[in-house]
Amino acid sequence: MIHGLQKLASLKITPVAMLALGAGVFVSYRSGDPAAVWVMAPLSVLVVNLLCAILVTPRFRRDAGLLMFHICLLAVVTLAAYGYLGQFRGRVEVAVGQQVEPDMITAVARGVLHDGDALHRLTFVQETFRVEYTQGLFRTRTLSRVRLAGGDERAFGDNVPLALRGYRFYTSSNKGYSALVRWAGATGGQAVGVVNFPSYPMHDWNQVSSWTAPDGSALNLALQLGDKPPQDKAWVLDSSTQRHAQLLIDIDGQRIRLREGDAVPVSDGVLTFLETRMWMGYTVYFFPMLNWLLAFSLVGVLALGWFYLRRFGVLQKRPLIGGRSAIRAGRHVDSLVR
């Protein structure tokens, strides 16, 4: 048993597997699949090799720093794997005044161990936001305000996410205008809808969208905003500034123009354009034990630093590498680095 472990713990395997992992990372980067077999295979070899080495290699017994570094390496790989299985990444667009509902969040990646119910406990109401631009439409600061379920307000943006029950909401470059519409059915029934138009000012020239009314009919809509975002000076996109845009709607091959408050008969009811608002796009991120991952990485590197400080004699007050005397001593300097 011990003999088997010793074979698996061989230091001869380690660099070969590390080079294979480096090559595997390159190949999988080219193929776009980070969990590909050429990454997983050498990584598994390294994990087994390291686990066995930690158990049986006497070298690790002699140096706590080196041992700690390698244990931390193992912990980081384990935590990263666990994190990927439990992670959630998604995005959501929320109009000003709108409340985030779980079914508004689109999943981009979801680990098999991710608890879907947790999403149902995430909610907030979007209040205003502002995005600053320098000359030439270069986006700089973003600040978003939201109201939480308990009534607390939060302001965040750029490097500071909104943290809710371990999930983080980050403001994104994605934001734009929405039309608030009310549909009233001919036979009763009403619904209010928020129609988000493409990201602004990125798609300033293409503000078209569609909305499905409660009776199932699809309506093609366009938003006409009037003035263009200025290129020649600094500018602020502020969700509290009213744009009074016009809504264009295609009905029976005809384009109808609506101002705020105008109504138009549609297939089986009446559509009223209530007002223009703005929406903010967030990316949503959840990765279990993220703080532990950071803690183990840091402890590992510090342990390695400690190991080298001792090994190179810095903590034993011996010269590190050379020293003034080494130059004077001319060529016979071997002993200084031994």
């Binding site: 230091l11 001869k12 380690t14 660099p15 590390m18 080079l19 992992l21 480096g22 990372v25 390159f26 980067y29 980070p34 990444r89 320098t134 439409l137 270069f138 986006r139 700089t140 600061r141 973003t142 943006g157 750029d158 490097n159 500071v160 996410p161 983080r168 980050y170 994104s172 470059s173 990201s199 990125m202 990316t283 991120y285 990765f287 993220l290 991952l293 950071l294 990485s297 840091l298 590992g300 590197v301 390695l304 630093g305 080298y308 190179f312 590190l320 590498i321 050379g322 020293g323 003034r324 080494a326 130059i327 001319g330 060529r331 016979h332 300097v333 071997d334 200084l336 680095v337 031994r338």
Partner: protein, 264 residues
Amino acid sequence: MPWVVGGLLCYAAGIAYAVADTVADRPGSRKVVIATVCGAVLLGVAIAERWLRSANGPFYTLFEILLSSLFSLGLMSAVLYWVAPLTRIGAVVTLPVLFMLGLWALNVPSETSPQPATYESVWLWIHVGVGKVFLGVLLVAVGVAGSLLLARTSVLRNVRVASQDALYELSWRLVAVAFVFHSLMLIAGAVWAQDAWGRFWAWDPLETWTLITWLAIGAGLHLRLAYGLSRDYGCAYILGVFVLAFLTFFGVPFSSIAAHKGIL
């Protein structure tokens, strides 16, 4: 710009002294250190002057990154030349690399550009700071390893007589120190990416190549332990790792439009 040219001229003087030492079969002299310090100081002034003018740190455009690297790599080399005089032998390799970096800087557009708001983070400073220490230490390691390879071609005669073993050991020690700083750079970068882009790791080109470099250095340290790499192979390996790190630092970020750019 005059400060940049002045800094480069100092590095050129350092090269001249280093070559003179080599030809005269002397260990690296203090003049090399002084020229390198002067070059770094002048480049530091160039950065400060530009910073005051544009209110942006040297983090964003290719010119800014080359400038800050010229300064910090020069400074790191000078510090190591000072505390560990054995490393001066590598100045014949290290300083020409810096000088070429300088010529490159003089040939790229030097306009300032606004920075994305995500650059307003202390983690950017930590990430870039430890990254520069990493590359600086590795550059000096390459100098030592490179001079050992030159000794094979009898360009550097003094190394032939002196302690090649000691220098070889020294170059790997520097690689080990560089590895610690590379690891710190990876961690600080991941923390910054988490804040700035909402994920700590996304296999983007820069992250992928940095991980490959990190693995290559780790593999090198273990290759030496497990297979006792001969001196020539070991020095060549260090050179290879440096090329990888250099391309990752100065090639990848500027060949992909995705990295670090603001979007409307």
